[in-house]
């Protein structure tokens, strides 16, 4: 091995003859040789380049050979340094090795003596390099492990789901920041028996599904309310961590915030019960009337009978309207509405709709204010949907109006919107009623509205349609004075 390593050698000696002789011997052996003629130069060479081996004269005029060695070692600890000395004694040799020299050569030396010493020097150099390599390798892998751990920790701490690791003794082995938030706890020390600190349902499940069962392989999920009234709801997924023999090493708990989902679920179930209630009411009323007419024990007058039949018919008719409205809402929610969008002249639709209600308007002796026909406004919309919106609002404006009241329709335009205003001088809305105006099944209920029928879905549909065109609808109302609806549609252009 040594023979193959034809290394790079530095000679530091103030005697020129010796330098030349040594250089010649070593170069003949195939080594690469640099020579420095004094200590200063020796330090400069030995620091600038990592030599395999340096042969340093112990006694030089400028700097002591041992100091040269120290300086070289500072920079290159793996350079093997041999001291050459002419007045060798036991003490100097010991001192030199104590101070870090790897060996020494007595001057004068024969070429064989030199080469033998250098061979063992190279041997040492090889071991040094190997040790260095191993050390570096170890450091690198340690660094990598440390880096990997930091990275994983950062990742786990950054995710919004909570992660808890519990060992088989029920102690907390790891947790991330999110788990504290999701469990609504401020602090958790590692190593504590954790089960009792967890929500009861989760703790119980860990014990029952994992600790009490030898080799659990499947995960379990559970939904837990952390703060009441749906303020914080979590889903905990518990998965076993298994040893190689499938025995339980611990449990990893992943916590997910499902509050929003729960809120939606509640909204959905409320909507379903509202729909059920609203659909059943007309059926219950009609069945009630029919039952009375069928029951031999109940005697009713022929007038009552006609009244009950009419009312049953009306309730069932309104049920049909409601079902159609619900289907429309469902289609809108599913984005399954086919719209035939074209330019519609607002003023034309308004007068068309008002004409439809002529009978009702005359019956209530309402005075109608129509927009001027002079400047016509155009919006891009599905004609049927626009008719539906206006019909609904005009119909409301008439139904909820007072006798001899007024209904005013206006069309305006600014830089961004074409605006339709529909204003009645009717019964108006109380502030709490106004708030719920656009929600499904809401209908203002007071002494004035008793005999007004509707599905409670009209305005909800109107709002959905307008919003589908990036428009908006607002309502201003004073109880007892009247209500004004303002519909704004993004502008297209104005007909000249």
């Amino acid at each position: 091995m040594t023979e193959e390593l034809k290394g790079h050698i530095l000679i530091v000696d103030d005697e020129e003859a010796l330098r030349t002789a040594v250089r010649r011997i070593l170069e003949l052996e195939g080594y690469k040789v640099d020579a420095a003629q004094n200590g200063t130069e020796g330090i400069a060479f030995g620091s600038a380049h990592e030599y395999d081996l340096a042969l340093i004269d112990l006694k030089m005029p400028d700097i002591n050979g041992l100091d040269v060695l120290k300086e070289i070692r500072k920079k290159h600890p793996n350079t093997v340094c041999y001291m050459a000395t002419a007045y060798a004694s036991y003490e100097t040799a010991v001192e030199a090795t104590k101070l870090g020299a790897d060996g020494y050569i007595l001057k004068p030396f024969s070429p064989d003596e030199l080469l033998n010493s250098l061979n063992s020097g190279f041997e040492k150099r090889r071991w040094l390099l190997e040790a260095e390599r191993l050390r570096k390798e170890r450091e690198e892998s340690l660094l990598e492990v440390a880096f990997e751990r930091t990275r994983l920790k950062t990742i786990i701490n950054s995710i919004t789901d909570g992660v808890l690791v519990i060992n088989k003794k029920g102690e907390l082995a790891y947790f991330n920041q999110a788990s504290l938030t999701l469990l609504d706890i401020t602090y958790l020390p590692l190593g504590i028996p954790i089960i009792e600190h967890l929500p009861v349902e989760i703790g119980q499940m860990i014990v029952e599904k994992f600790f009490d069962i030898e080799k659990q392989t499947i995960a379990f999920s559970i939904e837990v309310s952390i703060k009441p009234e749906n303020q914080l709801y979590i889903e905990a997924t518990l998965s076993p961590i298994s040893e190689n023999d499938k025995s339980l090493a611990g449990v990893v708990v992943v916590l997910k915030n499902i509050t929003e989902f729960k809120k939606l679920e509640l909204l959905k179930s409320q909507f379903v019960s509202m729909v059920a209630h609203e659909l059943k009411a007309p059926i219950a009323a009609s069945i009630g009337f029919i039952d009375i007419m069928r029951q031999p024990g109940i005697s009713i007058t022929p007038e009552q009978k006609i009244d009950f039949l009419n009312r049953s018919h009306q309730r069932l008719q309104s049920l049909l309207f409601m079902i159609n409205d619900l289907l429309d809402i469902s289609r809108m929610e599913l984005n399954k509405v086919t719209r035939e969008i074209r330019e519609v002249v607002v003023e034309e639709t308004l007068s068309e709709v008002v004409n439809l209600f002529k009978v009702d308007i005359d019956k209530k002796q309402l005075s109608i204010g129509m927009p001027e026909e002079a400047g016509k406004h155009v919006i891009r919309i599905d004609q049927n949907e626009f008719m539906r919106i206006i019909t609904n609002l005009v119909s409301n404006g008439i139904k909820y109006n007072r006798d001899k009241g007024s209904l005013t329709l206006q069309v305006k335009q600014d830089a961004y919107y074409t605006t339709v205003v529909i204003k009645d001088a009717g019964i108006g809305l109380k502030p709490a009623e106004k708030e719920r105006l656009f929600s499904e099944f809401f209908r203002a209920k007071n002494e004035h509205t008793k005999n007004i029928h509707g599905t409670g879905l009209g305005l909800s549909i109107v709002k959905r349609i307008i919003e589908a065109y990036s428009g908006k609808i607002t309502c201003e109302s004073t109880y007892g004075e009247g209500t004004q609806f303002t519909l704004s549609f993004p502008i297209v252009y104005r007909l000249e």
Binding site: A276, I287, Q295
Partner: protein, 126 residues
């Protein structure tokens, strides 16, 4: 003669129920909102209350039942619902709503009379 209070915001159902009960010989007082219902109950002390959940004004039927119980009115209450099946809620368990029985609308005249007589009989036994 037993006096029955019927409270329902659905005018048609209110009338139908009243007619059925009157045909059977009961005296009936009625109201179409919880506030008026509360008044007639406090003033005339009926033997039985038939109360709708009244969904349009959220919880108003429930609220009235709770209010009456808080004021130590122990008159039996039959509550009309139409939502138990839809929501899968079992109102009878848990005792959240202090009424004696839940009845799913629509209910046939015979059933209604059956329930009413059951409660009035219990009242007499007390």
């Amino acid at each position: 003669m037993s006096l029955i209070a019927v409270i329902d915001d659905d005018q048609d159902i209110l009338e139908a129920s009243t007619l059925i009960l009157k045909a059977r010989g009961f005296e009936v007082i009625s109201a179409n909102n919880p506030d008026d219902g509360y008044k007639i109950i406090k003033e005339q002390h009926p033997d039985l209350i038939i109360l709708d959940v009244i969904m349009n004004e959220p919880d108003d039927g429930f609220f009235l039942a709770q209010k009456l119980r808080k004021e130590n009115v122990t008159t039996p209450i039959i509550m009309y619902t139409s939502i138990a099946k839809a929501t899968g809620l079992d109102f009878s368990s848990g005792g959240m709503i202090p009424v004696d029985e839940f009845v799913e609308k629509p209910i046939s005249p015979d059933e209604l009379i059956g329930k009413v007589e059951k409660f009035l009989k219990k009242q007499v036994e007390k």
